[in-house]
Structure formats: C-alpha cells, structure tokens
Subunit: 329 residues, 2 copies
Amino acid sequence: MTIQDEFSFIKSITPKTYRQPHLVAGIGDDAALYRGDSNVEEIICLDTMIEDIHFSKKTMKPFHIGYKALASNISDIAAMGGKPIFYLVSIAIPKHWSAEELAEIYKGMENLAERFQMDLIGGDTVSTKDSLAITVTVIGRIEKGKHLLRKNAKAGDIVFVTETLGDSAAGLHLLLQYGVDYSFTKDELALVRKHQLPEPRIEIGQLLADYPRVALNDVSDGIASELNEIAEASNVSIVIERDFLPKSEGLEAFDEKEQLKWMLYGGEDYELVGTIPQEHWTSVEEKCKEKGFLITKIGYVENGPSKVLLKEAETYRLLEKLGFNHFRD
Amino acid sequence: MTIQDEFSFIKSITPKTYRQPHLVAGIGDDAALYRGDSNVEEIICLDTMIEDIHFSKKTMKPFHIGYKALASNISDIAAMGGKPIFYLVSIAIPKHWSAEELAEIYKGMENLAERFQMDLIGGDTVSTKDSLAITVTVIGRIEKGKHLLRKNAKAGDIVFVTETLGDSAAGLHLLLQYGVDYSFTKDELALVRKHQLPEPRIEIGQLLADYPRVALNDVSDGIASELNEIAEASNVSIVIERDFLPKSEGLEAFDEKEQLKWMLYGGEDYELVGTIPQEHWTSVEEKCKEKGFLITKIGYVENGPSKVLLKEAETYRLLEKLGFNHFRD
C-alpha cells in the first residue's frame, strides 16, 4: 500500500458521524478522547486474528473476518457484564488483499458496531509481507461494582450456559469439507453461520450483572477450558452432566462422539458459561425466557480442589484445559 | 508456541503488583477493568510494529523493540497533553524468536512503564508463520477540557519544537552502516540511542496543556508531515525557518544536505512540534528552561490555505506531506 493509498483508505473507513455522545475526538488526531464517568468502570480488551492461523479465505468471506474479529472482543465485554462503546482496529495488510476485500472487512465490523451503537475511534494501518493480521481493541463500560469475575463461584452454585454448544466447530467442519461457496441445507447453514457470524451475548451478560456473585466466561476456547478457568480462579470443583448439554438440531446430524467433542472443546461459540447462587436461578431462567434467550443449567459447583468433571450415567471424567486442537480421545 | 508454553509465557509477563490505584482487574479475566473518573478525559491510541518493516534485528535489540513499541504510543498520549496509565500488548510470535528474546521485549516495555507508573493490564499472544508483530494499546488521561488538538493553530501563533531534530534518522543511518553491535563514538551513540530508545515527552506535553489553544503533534513521521497535519486540521499556512531548526552536535558530523533531509523528513524522533499563541511563548520558554527541557521557536503561523513552507535566506520552499522513504531531492 503506498502512502497515498493509505491516506485514502483511512479516509474511506473514518466514520462521518459518531454515535456515542461522550466522544470528544475520534479518528484524526494522535489519539482518541472521550469523557470519563465516575459512575462506571471502564472495560478494555484486545484480540488478534491472523490469516491461515485464526481464519482462512477458504472458510470465511472478508465480511465474516471483520465481523468475527469485532464479535470476539464484544463477547469479552459481555463476559464482564458490560456494554461495548468504542473500538480501535490495527490492520497489517499484505499485497494479495484487494481494496474491495479490505472494505468488506470493515463493513463486517460496522454491521456489529451499528447494532451496538459503537464507534470506530482509532487504529493503525501498516503493510506486511505475509499474512493479514487484525488486532481489535474494544472499550466497554459497566455500572460501578457490577462487573462479573471468574473468581466468584462457590460450592452450591448452579452452572449454566447460554443457547447451544459446539455449533461453531460443526460449522467449521462443514466449511472445511465443502468450502465457503457451497450451497448448504438450512440446518447446515445455521451451523456455518454460527462459525462465521457469532452473536456476542451482550444482553444476557447485562441481565446477569443484575444478580450478585455471578462468575462468567465467554466460550472462545470450549467449555472444558472456560470452566477450568472459573474453577481455578474460584478454587472450586465443577461438575457438568453430559445429558444436560444444550444441543442444536443441526448438531444432531453428526456422530455422537463428534458432537461431544465439539460441545466440550469446540471453541468460538461465543456463548456465556458461568455459575450463579442457587436462589437466583429461577429468576434468571424466567427473565431469559421472557426475552427469548435460551439458558440451561448444566451442572453444579462443589468445594475444591479446582477441577472440572463430566458426569455421564454414574461415571465421572476429568476435563482438561485444552483447546480444540489438543483433544485426544 | 505450544499451549503449555503460552500459559507459562503469559504467567511470566503478568505483573505481580499493580501501580495504578484505580485498577480493578488486570490480566487474568476476559477483560481488564478500571474505575472511571468524571474529572478526566480518557485518551486511547494503538500502534503496530512489524519485523523487517518497522524494525529489524540488524538495528535493534529485543529490549529496544519493546521499549520503542511502547514509547511511540506514550508519545501519542504526550501529543494530547495527557498522562499514560495503562497498556495492553498483542504479540504475534514466529518460531525463530526465542523465549529469552521475548522476555527482553517485555523488559524494554517494563522499563518505560515503571518510569511512568503504568500497568500492563491485558493482551493477546498468538503464533504466526512469518514476522514478529507487536500491537500496543495505551490508555492515558487528561484533566477535562485540557486536551491539545491539531486544529487549534491560528495566524500569528508561534511554531515550536522540543529538543533536536533528525537524530533518530541519523542513528538509523549509522546502525544500517555498522550494525547493532558496533562500538560507536560518544556522539554517534547519542544518535543511535535516539533511534533505539526515544524519550516520549510526557512532561513537556503536560506543561503545554496548561496553556490555552496549543496545537500539538508528536514527530513520528518527520516535521514536514506533522506540520502539514496541523496546517490541514487548522486551515492555516505554516512557515518554518531553516536556520532555526534545532540540531544536535552529533548531527553536525554529516553532510548539510543529509542533515536537512533528516531534520525535515526523518521520523521517529518522538519530539513534540506545535503552535502556541504569541503572548504565551516567553512563559513556556521559561518554564521549559527551569525544568531542563529545550524548546525552540522555529517559525510562525499565517492565514490559510493550508500549506507548510521552509524559509531559507529569502526563498520559500513548499514542504510536502511525505514520509522519510518518499523524500526526493
């Protein structure tokens, strides 16, 4: 990218208007500025996605890549119980990506940003020789003291998860088999979409932040890994029951062993998994039902040492903190 | 990097204590949290540096690479008049970088962070096939309403710059010629250090934020480019005088033409360049002198259209918005 191309590219992605009233200065100076607020806690996270490691043109269109890079960060804000407000994007661009493809990446991000009333307020655009790399930083806010941390779980709590598990991994499986341009059936397409266009659970995170002592994680690495993080941070034992794990219709088409692998270790579902004191469970269930969100009890918390067990019939199996690629069976 | 290596690497870079009292949660949850403050504006910026594009092992040790990745972002906070408080680091690591080198990168950042009492509060660690890439996000704060923007310049203002210009480019020239392990003379070493370990001008930025209507930029791309940004944002003409440009002793050793090229177009000095209403100039000069900072008047602001001119004897030359690599002579 020449310096002239870079100027016009930055111009093309600079928002013409901003949505957040507390923004003071967005793109166009050395840094962005927004008004502080003593009633909130500021939340910040960042994630990097690299071509052919975290995504591939074989399974994702440029629009999906942008969408998902922002979605994974918004999901981290959801896991704290917060609301996303701003984002910044650093992109390293190799020669084999066209201006049209880059524009699609930013459209994918803008699609989500519009929905959550977020503003793009800064970034960096650099050249690279090799693979496209996107780093997204997201800033969110939450009412003072209401944030949800992993260390909140205690014996007697209920373990829950939102919506269904394993769909993103199943979608990836289909995409690797048939390619991004294949005509999928309706059920297959739901799985594929879950991989390409995951829905960050901001509304459910905010709903949970109204209850005391909720421990929460988003499912980026698979629930085995996420629950181990909660177990470690809280020094508790977590037991989940195989028969309780929520499954989509689309997933039922696959071999049972595959299904379980994807539900436990398939990441990138971006659902929320956590624990809540038993006395609040009925209320949470009702509120989610009212709003049309599925939330399912999948287990319970016991006293430590920290570990995660899968209960099936009357046998218990230790679930290790491993990513999808490291599943051995 | 295996998943086990990644866990132990993240553990090794996680701070054991934090310096900022308003931090609520640093590394270790889905996102970091810190208390908001209605008396301030939040400042945020990010920068990406890529191996063999923005830095090279031939001219920089790993410590320098980490230091400079953070310094360039702190410099952006300085250009707003603010104080840096937190940083997040995303690093994409190829196989040819050792654990020792990575530790040195983080030591280089920690060196600066300690000096400014900043905390590392988040990040991402990923593998890449090719070149090392570091993206640093910095959060700063400034008292409400005191921020310094590029659009503040008006006809009659004085144009100033801190310390000396062109040293980083001269240092890079020496490093490319002799390599990173060469025994440089004292004067040469000052230039080399300016390239490897630039000093972000936080104290001067904060001092300038006490005056009304200062326009400010940090010199990341050379003053020709930085002043064009101020001229465009403020819609003014800027005239700088060749004989006023502040020069280090080390720079004098080079050919006059090279000196001028580096002073105008050599970026990465991370000095501050800006404009200030004439009536405040003497006061700023005195305050800088008291604190041991060099600040130099290099020109003046005239009514638009926006352009930047270099005055030499009685001739004027138009300075274009070009980076170092694009200088044609």
